[in-house]
Symmetry: C2
Subunit: 490 residues, 2 copies
């Protein structure tokens, strides 16, 4: 029998230490931002909207009607008919992205001088509002890494495919937007390499603390990076009983790896460590979700794209008659640092800013997050757990008076209660200018919050446990990835 070479507690401690460290042996945070600006300036990107007729290697296929790649690979855009008993709208039709392959989103990690670093890439995606953002080491669809489009093989891919070349610290299937993708999942990986790793052009080693600081800025860290970062265990369940020596918990103060952790950051850390909520046990949370799924009916049927009621296609877009929701468009891309330097593809265009927010509150002395069970047509198992609010089109919802619970709180948060706020982009390889304003609000602990039956308070530890098994949706994971345990910068 091969003995285990590490303990989950040691791995979590090395993640936590990196999350608390902004000093790097490689470069300062200022250097990283300058480097990103430089990358943007030195590379030639152009993204141009084109009519569908100018799409190269993409066409509208028949039986059923859908927009597909000539190879049959990558993704297609199809129609969906949805019926449900849950929520205010009982029936609708919409275009949806169908991509049955499981892609890899992977970050390579390595310990230098006792501190863990992550290999990130400055990468262009055509749908990003600023084109270039910090990305995982590898973003590869199955079509990518089996080289269907005959481009260059992604760098560093073998570290993720060949288990002899690395140790897999995180390796989970996680979903993408259930309102835009039909049952799409990616393999989210963090793999550790012991030996020498060559540093390619356009890549950079960062501490987790540096990445967290970059997440405080708008649109610097892309969605694929955020979903992988959200899977990182920053605490081990056994720390509740046996904290590691570098973690000193006493009274109001926590000291971790020689640094004081106070205020909201302290509450976050303790919420990640304590496996037990004074509010609801994990069994009770599971029961709540079971009850919701049992009582829910959801019927989804794939239909021809040209028969989606309420949507119209012209030469340049497929859009909803109301002008709202999103539109299917086509773009022509020229780029210098992608596997293929020139290509065309469809994208889903979005308008304005979406709103994604978590309400938090201390209950029984422990920081809790208000989680909402969210039913989306592309979900694999009815409900996924989401943030308190995830709303792609707040202005439309206000106009049509279908405002979801707690939206107001995030559109106009009370003074002194905002613990995090930034604008982040959704996946620029599928979405055109899809931005959400991410907000974390902390409500005073003495205030009672009335919550509807599809909401549940959870500790961060309960969230991380369920998230390992794919229970949390991408909106929730993306926002959780922004949580920073470091003291606020001056």
């Amino acid at each position: 029998m091969k003995a285990r070479s590490h303990s989950p507690s040691e791995t979590a401690a090395s993640f936590l230490a990196s999350a608390l460290t902004i000093e790097s042996r490689f470069q300062t945070l200022g250097d990283v931002r300058s480097w990103l600006t430089e990358c943007s300036e030195h590379q030639q990107f152009s993204v141009r909207r084109i009519p569908f007729a100018e799409l190269d290697q993409w066409h509208f296929a028949d039986h059923p009607n859908r927009l597909v790649h000539d190879s049959g690979r990558f993704f297609s855009i199809e129609g969906l008919r949805v019926q449900t008993r849950h929520g205010p709208v009982k029936e609708w039709q919409q275009p949806i992205i169908h991509q049955p392959e499981i892609g890899i989103l992977g970050i390579l990690t390595k310990v230098f001088d006792g501190l863990r670093y992550f290999l990130m890439q400055a990468k262009m995606e055509p749908g990003n509002i600023n084109l270039l953002q910090l990305s995982p080491t590898v973003q590869a669809t199955w079509s990518n890494y089996t080289r269907v489009h005959a481009g260059k093989r992604p760098l560093y891919l073998d570290y993720f495919l060949d288990p002899r070349r690395s140790r897999r610290l995180v390796d989970q299937l996680q979903s993408e937007q259930g309102s835009r993708f039909f049952r799409k999942r990616n393999r989210n990986m963090i793999v550790e390499v012991k030996g020498e790793v060559p540093l390619a052009d356009g890549f950079v080693w960062l501490t987790l603390g540096q990445i967290k600081r970059l997440l405080a800025f708008d649109n610097l860290v892309n969605m694929d990076a955020r979903t992988v970062l959200a899977c990182i265990p920053l605490a081990s369940p056994e720390w509740r009983f046996i904290p590691p020596p570098q973690l000193v918990i006493g009274g109001d103060q926590v000291e971790a790896f020689g640094r004081p952790v106070g205020g909201f950051q302290r509450d976050l850390l303790l919420s990640a460590i304590s496996g037990v909520s004074p509010w609801r046990s994990s069994d009770e949370i599971l029961s709540w979700l079971t009850e919701l799924k049992t009582g829910c009916e959801l019927s989804v049927e794939r239909i021809p794209l040209d028969q989606v009621t309420g949507w119209e296609r012209d030469e340049e877009q497929i859009r909803h008659r109301s002008g709202q929701h999103f539109a299917v468009i086509a773009v022509d891309v020229e780029a210098g640092n992608r596997e293929v330097v020139h290509w065309t593809q469809p994208l889903l265009e979005h308008f304005g800013y979406g709103c994604v927010g978590f309400l938090t509150q201390k209950l029984g002395g422990q920081l809790h997050f208000l989680v909402r069970a969210s039913l989306e047509p592309g979900n694999r198992d009815l409900f996924e757990l989401g943030p308190t609010v995830a709303c792609a089109n707040p202005e439309q919802r206000i106009k049509t008076r279908t405002v979801p619970a707690f939206l107001d709180l995030f559109l106009d948060p009370p003074a002194g209660c905002v613990r995090y706020q930034a604008v982040q982009s959704e996946e620029g390889g599928r979405f055109y200018h899809f931005q959400n304003r991410y907000t974390i609000v902390e409500w005073p602990s003495e205030t009672h919050v009335e919550i509807p039956p599809d909401f549940m308070w959870m500790t961060l530890s309960q969230i991380l446990e369920l998230a390992r098994y794919g229970a949390f949706n991408i909106e929730a994971r993306n926002l959780l990835s922004c949580l920073d345990l470091q003291a606020n910068p001056d």
Copy 2:
């Protein structure tokens, strides 16, 4: 905020205490067996095979062709076309049971004088070889409890539907046979009642220890009871760090609730308590499952029942041309203690005995179970985790030389290595005479076992953790429910 009224550790301790107790304030085990025999003798049951044409309220519908209830409720029998890259057979067609509703399988529990008892029912199911078996308090399809067939409302149902009437100790969605059902799940519940519970005719209060002893006999405890019992946490994860006072772990000996627990039972208990395997961490197990799912392709398509290649229908059955697998038949039932006293229905007939077995071995001093990732067409998410062997037709597999790994070991287990063996029935409401021989074998710890890539050693604690989230299939859960922590009877 409402404070928590109990701790998961206290709940687990009360389950464990009951599992170790055979002495009851109500009746001895001998009394229970006599009572079961009496129930069988005093009730009039008759199950008669009939031609499909004599089915009342069931018919073959068209577009697509399928066997359905006139109400459109209950279940239907349809066709399925399956294609996969995984396993020796790449493509096949078969009939399958389609039942999109989530039913309730629920056991009511109550503490009398400090000891936990479970309310079980002597219940007839037409497909059982001995008709009457011990069942959960409630087995109710959604059609049942919304009273589609206008029968009597199941007794005790309100305790499970109304959260004010009980505390939900177990409440999980769990799958049924993925080779026979299309994505079927039930809500497995154990609810605790504090107040007076009237004892209806045909019901009995048993300790968990008594039920475990009855599971040592052939065909006494039905499948629906076993799947619920398998969800019971017999240990709490925190016991690894803080064992309850009633549990004394020292050296080779464990004392639990004043009783010595030794030998295989001791190893079982310690395997359920220790969250950490010296073999593989939970993250590594998750990674193994992620890799299998990523590399797997499974395409299932529902097709008309009369177009299922290789299957033939005559007046009395739909059977495979080889005479193997299973057959769809119809039965006429007359019964005295069911909600409806006379009815007809289809069933799936099985031939001979299936084989379900877990190989166990001590690795690094800790008892491990050899788990196999199993791909079945009716699974909701590609692989479910199963026992080492689950084979409905061992004789056929030997004849066709497609013997699955480790089957030999269970058909002819080495002397002194069998830790459990009994014949148990699968769900008698859907299957006609479907019996499996359940076996647990312990392999000497010094022997090296070569395992294929779709197998994984896990501790009982790792199994229970994953099983909570529905990762284990019904064959595995059914066998695990038979594990008895009591010393072997003399």
